[in-house]
Symmetry: C2
Subunit: 446 residues, 2 copies
C-alpha cells in the first residue's frame, strides 16, 4: 500500500491547484493527485468547443511534469478512521491529509420523461463525453437547449454560430435571471434574438417526446420539434464519496467545510464544487459553481493543510460571473436587486451609462452600463452588474473586490480611477463613479 | 456687478464636474462657470487628433444646456477679501464660494535655445492651438518628440500611424520611466521600435538648431535633423491667478489644499492640475496631472462647498495610468519598485504572466503580465503594473482600488475573482492572484 502525506482526489482546477499549492508551501511532503481521466480540460471552455475551438484545443496541455505524483484511477471508498482510500483499480492509499475535489456533474431531471433519449445531451466535464456530444450534435440541425443559465446561453450562441437552429427554453421569466436583474436580462435577450437564437421564457418543460424529429413539450401544450435537446439545468455536487464515508453535508448536499476548507472529518479538506458554499451577504447556503471560486478555495486549502497559514479576508462566497455573446459582454458580482429585496435588504440602486472610450467618436466606442446595489443606511455595496465591450470582464473584478471588502458607495465615489481614451469610459462619466454618486446623492438629499 | 453663490473658474473636466456637482448637491445655489474658450475638448483625447480622430471629433459637444450658467471670459485677478473676481472683459463678479480649476499648461524649457522656432510645438489644451499644431505638423515629414512620457509616446505613435518619421528623445534611461519599472519600459520600447518609432533614451537635448531642416542637438554632440519638434516635458500648474491674490502654494507651485479641496483662503477651493497633490504612499508633493484625478477632486469639492458632506476614503493622490500603442496596453497604479526603493520602503515584488483567454487556443489570446509591489512586513500593496490587451485598462482599476484601500497581498490572494474564457486569464493562472501568491509564499517561507 502506498502512503502519501497528501492525497487530492479530483483532477479539475480545484484539485490541481490544491496539489500544486500544497507542494509549494510544504516542499517536504509527498503529494498525490488522483484523477478519473488522463486528459484534463478547461471546464469554462467547454461551450466554445461547439464552434470557436475544437475539443482538442480545450484539453489542458501540461507544461512539463507536475511537481506532484499523479495517478489515473477512481476513488471508490474512504475509510476516514484509518485514513485510507480504496481505488477502483484495486489499490489502496494511505494519507495524512485528504482533499476532496470531486467537482460536480450536470443535474439530470429525474422527473422528465425522455431525458435519456438518443439525441438528448448534457454538458459533462470530461473529454470523452464532450467528444461524443460534439459529434452527435454536429449532424443535427435544430437544437433545443433546456435551461437559459450561463452554460445554456453560451452553448446556444456557439451552436448558432455553427449554423444550427437554436431555441432556448427557460423556466424563469428571463434568461440569466439568477445573476442579473430584468433590465440586463432583457438586453441579453435582445442580443440573442438578434443572432437568431429563439427564446422561450417562463416556460416549463414537461416531456421530451420520442420520434423523428424529437419534440420538447411545454406545460402550455406547445411542442418544439427538434433534432437534439441539450439539458443545462445546473450542476450537482459530487459529494457521494464523502457522504458514503459518513461526512457531513449541507442543505444542498455538498460537503460541509469551515472557513479554512476543513470538513467535519479530521485531516480531510474539501474544495471546489463538491463543498458547501455560504453566500457572503445572505449567509445562506448557495450552490455557486464556478472555477474561479474553486481555485480560490484550493489556494486556501493547499496553504492550510498542515498549519493554518492563511485566512480568508472575506467570509462567504461571492459569485462573480461574466460572459460574452453577440459581441457584447455581461458581468455581475454579488447579489441582484431582486434577490436582495426578497431577502429583506433595504436597498438603494442606481444605473449609469457612458461611452466606453473618450471622446465617443473614437472607433470601437460602445455604451457601457453599470448598476450598483447598496444597503441604504450604510451604503455597503452588495451587488453590481455591467454590460459593454470585453473590458467589462475586468471591470466586474474591481466591483467584486469592492463588494468583498465591504466598501461603500462613498468609497467608490471618492476612489481614484485610471482612464484612457482607447480603454475606458471618460473620467467625467465613468459609470462606476456615476452610479455610486447617484446613490450617495439620493441618500444625502433624501 | 453680478453675484453668484458659486463661481468656478476653468472649463476643463475639473471645472465642469465641480459646477455640475455643486448644482446637484445644492440645487438652491446659483452657480457660474467661467471659461477661457467657448469650445471644450477631451484633454486625454488630444494625442489621438494626430491620426485616429480629427480635432472636431475631440470637441466636447454639450448635451443640452448645462444646469449652471456659463460665461466665456478670462479671470484676471481676485480680491479674496471682498470675494470679487475681475474679468478680462471688464466685468466684476461676486462669489460666496470660489473654485479655482485653472488647470495646467505645457512646460516650456526656458533654458533651451530654439524652443520658439517655427516648427516647434507644444501639446496645449485648447482647440485653436491644437488646430494650428495639427496643420503645421501635417506637412512635415520628420518629427522629433522631446520627452518620452505618456503624452510624448502617444503623440509619437499617432504621428507614426499618420506616416511621419518619428524620433522620441528621452532624458531618462527609458521611456515611461516615471510610471513603470524597467521591464515594462523595455517591453513598451520594443513595441514602439516595432512600429518604426526611433527611440533615443538617456539623452539630454541641448539645443534646437534653426535651419531647413531643423535639428535637435544632444549633449553627446549628435544632431537629429527633422522638420518639426514636439516638446512634451510635462505640465505646470496654472496657479498664477491664486498666487497673485496671495494664496499659498506647495513645493511645485500648485495651490495648497486640504483633504476637502479647501485652499488657505476662506471660501476658496481648488481642484485639478492647479492644486497641490500629495502622494498616497510617500506623502510628498507629487505633480500627477490626470483628468481622472481631477474629476475625483471635483466631485469632492462640489459636494463640500457649503457643508462638508463627503470625506475621501483615501488620503493622498494615487496615480493610475493606462495607455495603448501598437495594439498593446500598459497600465500602472501607485508607486514603482524603483521609486519605492529610493524612498526607503522594504519591498517584496512578484510578476506573473498568463494567457488572457482560456484555453489559450481561443482566437485573440495574448499574454498578460502583472507585477505587484508590496511592503514586506505588512504585505500592503503599494504599486502594480500590467501589460496585455485592452482589458488591462480596467484590470488596473481593480489594483488601484486595492492599493487605495490598503489591501494586502493576502487579501488579493484570497479574494474571489470572475473569469471567463473570452474575457480574462484562467482562474488557475489569473496573474493578479498568482503574483500575490508568490509574494505571500516568499514571505511565509522566508
Amino acid at each position: 500500500m502506498k502512503a502519501y502525506d497528501v492525497v487530492v482526489i479530483g483532477g479539475g482546477p480545484a484539485g490541481s491547484i490544491t496539489a500544486g499549492t500544497a507542494v509549494s508551501y510544504y516542499p517536504d511532503k509527498s503529494v498525490l493527485l488522483v484523477k478519473d481521466h488522463k486528459q484534463g480540460m478547461v471546464p469554462c471552455g467547454i461551450p466554445y468547443t461547439f464552434h470557436d475551438i475544437d475539443v482538442d484545443g480545450n484539453i489542458v496541455k501540461p507544461k512539463g511534469k507536475p511537481p506532484f505524483d499523479v495517478l489515473v484511477d477512481t476513488a471508490e471508498s474512504l475509510d476516514l478512521e484509518s485514513r485510507r482510500i480504496k481505488l477502483a483499480g484495486g489499490e489502496e492509499l494511505e494519507y495524512q491529509r485528504l482533499v476532496l475535489a470531486t467537482g460536480s456533474t450536470p443535474k439530470v431531471p429525474g422527473w422528465l420523461p425522455g431525458r435519456d433519449l438518443e439525441g438528448v445531451f448534457y454538458v459533462e466535464k470530461s473529454v470523452p463525453s464532450l467528444r461524443k456530444v460534439n459529434e452527435m450534435v454536429a449532424g443535427r440541425k435544430r437544437v433545443v437547449i433546456i435551461g437559459g443559465g450561463f452554460i445554456g446561453i453560451e452553448v446556444a450562441e456557439q451552436l448558432r454560430k455553427d449554423g444550427h437552429e437554436v431555441t432556448v427554453v427557460e423556466l424563469l421569466p428571463h434568461v440569466l435571471a439568477t445573476a442579473f436583474d430584468d433590465e440586463f436580462c432583457v438586453e441579453a435577450e435582445e442580443i440573442l434574438a438578434g443572432m437568431g437564437v429563439e427564446l422561450v421564457t417562463g416556460a416549463r418543460v414537461t416531456e421530451i417526446i420520442e420520434g423523428e424529429p424529437l419534440a420538447v413539450k411545454l406545460e402550455d401544450g406547445r411542442e418544439l420539434p427538434c433534432d437534439a435537446v441539450g439539458l443545462s439545468v445546473g450542476y450537482a455536487p459530487n459529494s457521494k464519496l464523502g457522504v458514503d464515508a459518513g461526512m457531513k453535508t449541507g442543505p444542498y448536499g455538498a460537503l460541509a467545510v469551515d472557513e479554512y476548507m476543513r470538513t467535519s472529518s479530521p485531516g480531510v479538506f474539501a474544495v471546489g464544487d463538491c463543498c458547501e458554499r455560504v453566500h457572503f451577504a445572505t449567509r445562506r447556503p448557495v450552490p455557486v459553481m464556478l472555477a474561479s471560486t474553486s481555485t480560490a478555495e484550493a489556494r486556501l486549502a493547499g496553504a492550510n493543510l498542515f498549519e493554518l497559514k492563511i485566512s480568508k479576508s472575506v467570509t462567504g462566497t461571492i459569485a462573480i460571473f461574466s460572459t460574452a455573446f453577440g459581441g457584447r459582454t455581461f458581468a455581475a458580482a454579488g447579489i441582484t436587486e431582486q434577490e436582495a429585496a426578497r431577502e429583506g435588504f433595504e436597498l438603494v440602486t442606481a444605473e449609469a451609462v457612458s461611452p466606453d472610450h473618450h471622446p465617443g467618436t473614437l472607433p470601437g466606442t460602445v455604451k457601457q452600463k453599470v448598476k450598483l446595489i447598496a444597503m441604504r443606511a450604510s451604503g455597503t455595496i452588495l451587488g453590481a452588474q455591467a454590460s459593454g465591450a470585453s473590458s467589462v470582464g475586468e471591470l466586474i473584478n474591481m466591483l467584486g473586490l469592492a463588494i468583498q471588502h465591504k466598501l461603500t458607495v462613498s468609497d467608490l465615489l471618492t476612489s481614484q480611477i485610471g482612464t484612457h481614451p482607447l480603454l475606458t469610459a471618460p473620467p467625467t462619466t465613468y459609470p462606476v463613479t456615476k452610479a455610486a454618486e447617484q446613490i450617495v446623492k439620493r441618500t444625502v438629499c433624501a
